[in-house]
Symmetry: D3
Subunit: 340 residues, 6 copies
């Protein structure tokens, strides 16, 4: 069983039920999730030995987040406890032309203020095969950026493959700040995941004419940027999911990737959305699973995009699907016929 | 801040949850709403000084209706208390080819039996800029028709602009009764809102060949009728929303209007419906907001139709959107991408 | 009022709410349903004198199943009490490309172990006009197959018209077992309902090239098989619903039938699905209602397919629609406009 | 199986969940109940052939009320359909020193305006053994009082035993009106149920010094009044439940009765209340069951008070207990130990 | 109508439903509340002109808090918008010997960082009759303490009566910090509310032998301390509620007060608790209402303690009772009999 | 960290919400629990290295049970997958004099048919300190009894301390069967937990005059039996919880135990019950925790009884309390005051 480590922030997500707006809500659905935590859960679901590393406050809400991770089989032994609070975000579910809305309340979280000494990275990366992080983690603040780099250095020391999901968050930093920090971290990265917008804002690659909002895709533009990124940072693979936002209820979904030789574009899925949060993370997880299990790059992309298409039909951040369920969709059965 | 007054009936709406049929329901969702109340809430949301006038029984259910209005910033100081009961309607949410179903239990409501003396119209319309009512209010009974006329006379006396939403309700009166009453009230009206069916049934204008059910639209027919209506009653604007009923789940939505010179047809929206009740009211509110804020007639129509498109994605009668959210949709972003 | 009898298994169906996966569920929605019970409820809804025959354990869960049937007007006087347990199945609601999933826990149910002596078939079929069963009932086990045959013999003795819904269930028996048992029972059947797959697996008719999953339909293939079936078993009518599985959320739905002279294909409906369980049963019920009320075969098919289109929009197995509601859809109004 | 008939009003009861006040409620729990309907359900639960007679509007809400009755095995064949509406009441659940609160909206209900011709009393009372009604039914209005008398005359003609629950409702009539109507109806009554307050307000018997609020009981006063009532009206039995209102959460509960010879006081129960609505009806049902099944008068009282103690622990108006469950409590086991 | 102003922090309170522990919760009930906000709502309920002053972030969660206040009739015109976040606390409902548990996440809230210039105190206190604050507000931080003092100075300048609820919070400051700040603020206070523990920790008065946990009360000790407090600070009234904590489910509840001449102890209530949060605030509100409406001090205490006894039976922080309901309880009816 | 192993059956428990009876339930709350699983969770909560051993079917419901155990930190590595089904029981929550009711549907469960070879007991008991089982496990059937004995033999081989909770279940076996099997297993047991009724029915010890239902306790009788049991089987400790069943809502709760020298009776708790299922298991867990952590026998009993008192206030089978929370109650604070 391959060992995978992810490091980042898990937040308490509070969701008004049934398409309600915030002012209508008399209760919030409670979800614990966050980019790297979502990846850890997906990979545990697929049967890998999955470790999630973060820092959480020493209260019952921090414990509840840990219990949710344990429920899905993630190893939480290296989660540090202490600090001020768990990050929170409020997430209103959109419909049709009304967009989903996120109100963040994540400042001062325990992980954003964590010290490198809170973690024993040698123990964490011992015998590990893969390390995944996202651009959100270093964006949490100076300490978090240093923590990320320390983790990356340790990972490399232990010969661990590293993937990043660029994931630019405009509420956390400016493009200038992002580029300054992220450019430095790219030296540790083997597999880079991120769309044109992320590549532009966090790494400074000038986008083509892709209009992300309208969903028009310029695959040629992607191929061009991917090559530039590989040239500059020596990535082994560069990858992006491709979302066409028809509305808050319906999206098109595919992915593309470049392995230094070929540029691939996966099958395209039209999705009726239940919950799109965590969609990108489930894609990253699928690709990581594929690559760790010696699928070809192309097959890994197809596995990732099918897995994340399924994620969009599941409430919450975590992608609760099995390898078999993803394989069935990859094999072409998207009929939704009842499985008895 | 412009002052707007609306007068009408607010009802208790009882809704089986989750597409259940009435016989399946073990609980009803509780909504308080009604044409003019919905307009008052929308306009308060947009920042206007919004007054709602009605009569409600002196019990806790009447109070609960008032509290819902206050919650959204509507001034309820002129709501009279007393009478027999609050009107009730039961509303089953349809899906696909199964239509939504409404069972009315609204007879004997406090507002339908209210006296003119229950209200101090001079105080109500002092410094007011706009008065809105619907064809439902005079349809509630003889007393309510007299009350409506008294309000209109006072509004005119105070130089207030008046709009009507014709809104024919076949359970409340016959076309003959409607025409007899409504024709008389049109003299006070500046802005007339109503589709071809309403124009036919409440004002006697012979419809063209528009088939309302199938959703086919004959804009030419609308232009013709609007000109006739303006000729007869001297309206400043005649307006209609245009609904294409593909199914209970999906509708097309646009609007048209005539200002004496030009006939406009707005952008057309395809909507995945959450709750279509209050759709027409949110359209009226949007147009009123536009006209009160010196938008052009055409821009007011676009604002109204975008606002009401958003309304269809919100549970309940009230349209809980901000001016900024409507403006974003008017500006063309219907992608539903997450707003962080 | 025509008397109809159905015999089979009613199960406790446990459903995670709101598209949740099984591991996410903190509560299950409770539905009692089963092929023949669903037919009994539909026919009671349509005003027929509807009897449902089964065996249920003598505990409160068995009683709850009976109460649900009584609620919808089904006569439960001939339900035997005793045996070990009520069959259970867990049913996860799919969405988009994620299929619905059923986990069965139905072995050892009271009806699967029932004795012929548990029922007074002479009383049950006295003055009855129609008897309906499905291929699921004899598949429950040897005893259940004998019980089914005893019922069929009694029905025939009393001159009752018999319909079957072939309904092959791979978890209950092999095609070989099915064919051995079902072929023998066909001698009692007047109206045979079942799609190509059922005809193949339970009766051994070789299918054409229809790809059930993709939803492609080969009506010609159906006509061919229907004629063969009629030749072999002397059915009066052979009928099938035709489902196009676009996804778990959207299906196409129509039906075809052969009356010995003509082959009919009904109108085609595109359905946004609320709950597809019981869809086939509601189709059978509609056809039975039509034939019992002297509609033409073609009109009966149209009634059946419209009724079952509506069923897909209703939560639970039972089709809670009136004759009038079905007639409205048959007459062409699928606009979903609010019925006030 | 003995046949029992009850006649009265069944209402839609709307309940804010979880001790919420009306202004807090975002949903209402839906219960259908009413004095005589509650008795009909209890007696059906006990295995009697129970008929409930009323008039309900011809809409889905009326149908839902019927379905609830059918669910519990009540025969609804003689329920007339038509009229204006179903009576509604809103019921807030109290706790501790905060009393439960009821807001009535029951005027203009179908049963209050029903005609005698709406019912075939000869068919209804054919072979009946018992007829039960309450003082609420004639209080609904002049027509309802005439209807009640017509039913009573028919019952007597068919030799049916008659019981009444006096049940004074101050919102429906004055003591003077009550006494005028009820005194006349007492000639048909064999078994009279009602506490001191009812006896005073509906029949004019001067109460002793019992303080109903404080829960102090003066059994001597009851015995005195019961003898006077029997002297005046020739009842066979006079009966009352005795409630000690410690708080909205805790009540004491017992009953007393006089059979012309002896005055009995039952065991006293202390109850932690789940829902006290229907408590009196379940007591009446228990006594009727006892007398119809040849229990002694004393045993019937004990059965009634135990049954109604159990009712207080059940949500909704209907008392869903079996004879065996009541017998266990009568036999002395109030330990609440888990029944496996 | 008397004008009352309160100033403080309103928080988002998140509550696991139905006695669940935090780790079990899949949803949180949403309540907005806080000491001074609760007082403002109570006083608005009693018909006063009630103003609540705070600072809330300019996002939808801040708006939702405002909407809840408006719903209950509180004037929110002087609420400042801006700053970082709304304070949050998680509140687990205890039962029996399991205590309720609160996890605070209130640091960095908008009100804790508010500037004096965010508020126009001259406008706020113009024509005001009463100002109420609690010891929690100055405990929020240095800025909040300065803000509180500025408000107090303005209140005094406008001749407004001032009350304080001492309310020591050990998570916010030490006794030393509290005493340093609070002692200075007492010069502005007319009415001081606080139990022995508060008096000790925030003002340094040495407690007697009262054991707060066990619920034993030493009224003599209270009288002694109250006199000392009055001597030192010149209060007009010193008041305390008295809680006997039998368990998380049951409490005893009364109050005592000293007016410079007499020491009063109110009636004692035994309460079955629904939600005890806000109990103290509802007591303060009741006393303030009494004093503002020229009740005697003794009657004001009785009104306050009855009002707060009722509060314990209501879910949420706000006390949704009317003057009439409190008066009924003061008058002695705690029977909880249904109010029809 | 001490390692503890428990072996038994975990079932799916289905609970009508809010005191509903089975026939009223439209949803069931979902709990996974069972005697030994509950002990495993409690001990994991207390920080022990807790292993739960069972067999569960290879479907999603089996997985959901595992996930619940993992959530609370239980090691599930040795759970075997396969077999027919998970045992189910339906559990209706009683109130006041209405008892809770359990309907079992547990036959044919995977664990009841498990083979000894399904488990690697040498690995399971390696380095283990304690093994706990209950009398329910061998009662599941012949195979389960053999499995239990195999586990016990392996435990003894590895020098593991063994505890049993006798837990007689009349639905699973007769006293004769129980005694035949259980007597043989007692040779492996060090700590025996069980009340007089269990001792009588499973081990044949003649009870004294204790009336379990009434809650009367005869401690002398317990002491006598405990000595007899110790004499016969050589237990190190004999222990029993003592329940006084006042009603389904209120219980008295204490415990007694004998260590060969002294007989102890713990503090007595009066409990307002939220959910009493799992009460005995939480008591056993508390005692095991105490003994494993070198508390005295008396202190272990007090810890156990306090822990289980708390359990009665928590929904579900699992006792979600920390050592610190139990210690607080042991130390005497049962006031239920809010913990901030």
């Amino acid at each position: 069983m391959k060992k995978v480590v992810t490091l980042g922030e898990i937040m308490l997500r509070l969701i008004p039920p049934r398409f309600e707006r915030f002012v209508q809500a008399k209760s919030f659905d409670v979800i614990y999730g966050g980019g790297e935590a979502n990846v850890a859960v997906s990979l545990a679901n697929y049967g890998l030995d999955s470790y999630y590393v973060t820092k959480l406050p020493e209260n019952e809400i921090g414990q509840a987040a840990i219990n949710e991770l344990r429920k899905y089989g993630v190893n939480t032994d290296y989660i540090s406890r202490g600090g001020e609070r768990i990050g929170i975000y409020f997430s209103e579910t959109g419909a049709s032309m009304r967009p989903s809305k996120v109100v963040y309340d994540r400042a001062h979280s325990s992980i954003s203020d964590a010290e490198i000494d809170d973690f024993d990275f040698d123990a964490i990366f011992k015998d590990a095969n893969w390390f995944h992080f996202s651009g959100i983690t270093p964006a949490l603040g100076t300490k978090a950026a240093l923590l990320t780099e320390a983790a990356l250095q340790s990972a490399k020391k232990h010969g661990v493959t590293v993937s990043v999901d660029l994931n630019y968050r405009k509420n956390l930093w400016t493009p200038e700040e992002a580029q300054k920090t992220m450019t430095k971290l790219m030296q540790y990265v083997d597999v880079c995941i991120g769309n044109e917008e992320d590549a532009h804002l966090t790494l400074g690659f000038k986008p083509g004419s892709t209009n992300v909002t309208s969903g028009d895709l310029e695959l040629a533009g992607y191929e061009h940027i991917f090559k530039d990124m590989m040239d500059k940072f020596g990535f082994k693979y560069v990858i992006s999911s491709l979302r066409k936002s028809y509305s808050a209820s319906d999206n098109g979904w595919s992915a593309c990737g470049y392995d230094g030789n070929n540029f691939y574009h996966t099958k395209d899925y039209d999705i009726r959305i239940v919950d799109r949060v965590g969609g990108g993370d489930s894609f990253a997880s699928g690709v990581i699973y594929g690559l760790l299990n010696d699928k070809t790059f192309e097959d890994s992309l197809e596995f990732g995009v099918a897995a994340s298409a399924l994620k969009h039909t599941i409430h919450g951040d975590f992608n609760m699907v099995t390898v078999k369920e993803v394989d069935t969709l990859v094999a072409g059965d998207s009929s939704g016929r009842v499985q008895r």
